[in-house]
Amino acid sequence: MSVLTHQMLLFGATLFVIGMVGFLTRRSMILMFLSLEMMLAGVSINFIAFGQEHKNYQGQIMSVMILTVAACEAALALALIVSLFRRKNTLDVCMWSELNETPTAPFAEKSEIIMEKELDHPLLTPAGLDPSIHPMPMTLSDGWTKEDDKQFRSTEGSSHA
């Protein structure tokens, strides 16, 4: 492996890890998306370096493919971000954690919930509960009623505003 290839691999790895740290720390969905793009750029540089090493075009072809995928991703991700933003009027990724079973207290402290709109879409049933016995429009989860939710939102929202 030539010295240049080695250095370029290091450079690509650095770029990749910077993008990764950005993805892990950022809470704005757009910036998270940009971090992803940076990771892809790092990978792309890796491919180019290997293509130079082997003296063929495969790396560059792969790079072009990555560019294509990045473009597709940009289109879809931005469409998704727009639709998500219209739901909750925020770009905070912490607001989208419905896969979590219960809205636990630490999380609730961490993100001040800003929700002007009523949550009118169906919620997921908490795992292990029979939907017919626990109708979801009434309960967000065990012991967490819609009234609680409203109260919670009103206090949190007012303190933020």
């Binding site: 910077i18 892990l24 003296k55 075009y57 493919m65 469409a79 990724v93």
Partner: protein, 262 residues
């Protein structure tokens, strides 16, 4: 145990891959973590820039261990600029500034590609990312209230843990490069690096080895084009189809939300 000591000793001895470099990178990430932790409390872009320059210097020094010519200097300058932009992207608070940092990193990366004689890819990167970045700028301006920053833009999500994770991953990557280079690990013997054809059919000719022997492939955009539209035509068509599907998907997703809104 200050980083300067490592830098100085590293400069004299720095091989292509050395454990000093790993230590250096770890310390650089510790610095980044420090700034990230202070994020939003200390209004210090300067400190953030210092962290970026620190990392960029690490990358440049890694490359500076050999004989320098003009091309190399430009190449490493692009590398450093790119890393610097990436660090700025990490630590600044304003989304617009972060996007600027991102653009710096990507455009410098395109410069690196250019210096690596991948002219077509470099140009394509500039076009795609420049276009994408402009669009993203528009989105950022559209969504974020420029009067005040939102909570989610001020507060980060577990910066310490993220820095540690990134540092560990980068250390692992660098160590693997180091280990392969010094011969500690023979990657050719590792079953995971063998081609699939050799694993399924032992004794079959290694296609990558064959390709490597076909050296002196002309480094030109023309060659790449020929290769793309002869050897990899199917791949290119597939990429085109993917783009079409993504276009339709994006329109569908956006339109459905509009209906919900209505």
């Amino acid at each position: 145990m200050n980083p300067i000591f490592f830098a100085q000793t590293g400069l004299s001895k720095l091989g292509v891959a050395d454990w000093h470099l790993m230590a250096f990178i770890c310390i650089a990430f510790a610095a980044i973590g420090y700034f990230l932790l202070q994020y939003g409390v200390l209004r210090s872009k300067t400190w953030a820039l210092i962290g970026g320059v620190f990392m960029a210097a690490a990358v440049v020094m890694a490359g500076a261990s050999q004989k320098l010519d003009f091309e190399k200097v430009v190449l490493f300058a692009f590398c450093g600029l790119s890393v610097c932009g990436g660090t700025a992207f990490l630590v600044v608070r304003q989304p617009v500034h972060a996007a600027l940092g991102f653009a710096t990193a990507i455009l410098s990366g395109a410069g690196v590609l250019f210096m690596l004689s991948a002219h077509f890819v470099a140009a394509a990167t500039i076009i795609v990312y420049a276009g994408a970045t402009i669009i993203i700028f528009l989105f950022v301006l559209m969504f974020s209230q420029l009067t005040s920053l939102e909570t989610y833009e001020l507060k980060l999500n577990q910066p310490m843990l993220a820095t540690i994770a990134g540092g560990i991953l980068l250390s692992v990557l660098v160590y693997s490069l180091h280990a392969i280079e010094t011969g500690e690990v023979d990657i050719a013997q590792s079953s995971i690096s063998r081609p699939w054809s050799q694993i399924t059919r032992p004794g079959a000719p290694d296609s990558t080895a064959d390709l490597a022997q076909k050296s002196n492939v002309p480094r030109s955009t023309a060659g790449l084009g020929r290769s793309m539209f002869t050897e990899y035509l199917f791949t290119v068509e597939l990429a085109g189809t993917l783009l079409l599907a993504a276009t339709i998907g994006a329109i569908a997703v956006a339109q459905r939300t509009l209906e919900v809104e209505a």
